[in-house]
Symmetry: C2
Subunit: 172 residues, 2 copies
């Protein structure tokens, strides 16, 4: 902030092209990000109408399939970090969409389950969500979709255990 030259013809001219790298727009992380965004863009409006975020929806879906889970396992299932999950559960509980009980055997654990209201909300969202998914499948092709997911799974596998030894994140 010492100076703010308005004259383009001086020493502070852009220092571009000095660090050759791959075209980052074609990097794997970018490809994955763009693809995921393209997919999520289809779902967000519908979720939004029901007052749900993508992550809240993930949690409800994870809970709908089971009786109750510990927070830690829910984090693994919904692929959320502990702190995010903690906040979201607090909000979902305030909205009476989920219920929490401390485990009898281990006072540290808290068992989370979906409430009747939560089930009702899910029931109202699920049809649209399934329809959108079906449309995506039909657009892209069911076979190609299966192939893609197969490759994504392989990618995940091939990188498992490469990062730092301590995986803070939720992964099976």
């Amino acid at each position: 902030m010492t100076k703010k030259p308005a004259d383009p013809a001086n020493g502070s001219a852009p220092a571009a092209r000095q660090v050759p790298m791959r075209d980052f727009s074609r990097s794997l992380p970018m490809s994955l990000l763009r693809a995921r965004e393209a997919v999520m863009r289809q779902f967000r409006p519908s979720l939004r109408e029901h007052g749900l975020t993508e992550q809240q929806w993930r949690i409800l879906r994870a809970l709908a399939a089971i009786e109750a889970v510990e927070v830690t396992e829910l984090a693994r299932t919904a692929f959320l970090l502990g702190p995010s999950l903690s906040r979201i559960l607090r909000d979902l509980e305030a909205r009476n969409l989920i219920e929490r009980k401390t485990a009898k055997a281990d006072q540290r654990r808290s068992m989370v389950s979906i409430s009747k209201e939560g089930v009702k909300l899910m029931a109202s969202v699920a049809p649209t969500s399934e329809a959108i998914y079906a449309q995506i499948t039909s657009r892209f092709g069911a076979r190609k979709l299966a192939e893609l997911q197969e490759m994504l799974g392989e990618l995940e596998q091939s990188l498992a255990g490469l990062g730092s030894a301590d995986d803070t994140r939720a992964e099976g």
Copy 2:
């Protein structure tokens, strides 16, 4: 919050399995999220050592290839929303990693470029970054990687123009 029953044998018992849906852990968004996370986990530690976040690194890389860009085009290139970019540019400018000049012809536009310091930082990060990318490529297979990215691109294409007509997001 009217009641908080501790007794499991009552009407508030978990209401699971009442909304049949696909196993969400196998949904496309989750597959993409997990795959991307597996990839990014490889890069984050290195970036972190250099005091950069993933997004800051994207911006620097986008800037390294050109003389200067408008903020809006940079958003498109780095695939960031305007508000995110606005904040990050403020911080990167404070750290003297980028420079900004108001465009002469149009006072609304601001031209962004990487600074000499920014170039130096990039030069110190790039080797590790490239090495990690090479390792990922080798682990997964160069051919498969190309295939995967091809499919991701096709997925993106097949969904283009499906969402709401007004695409706020940065996309070509």
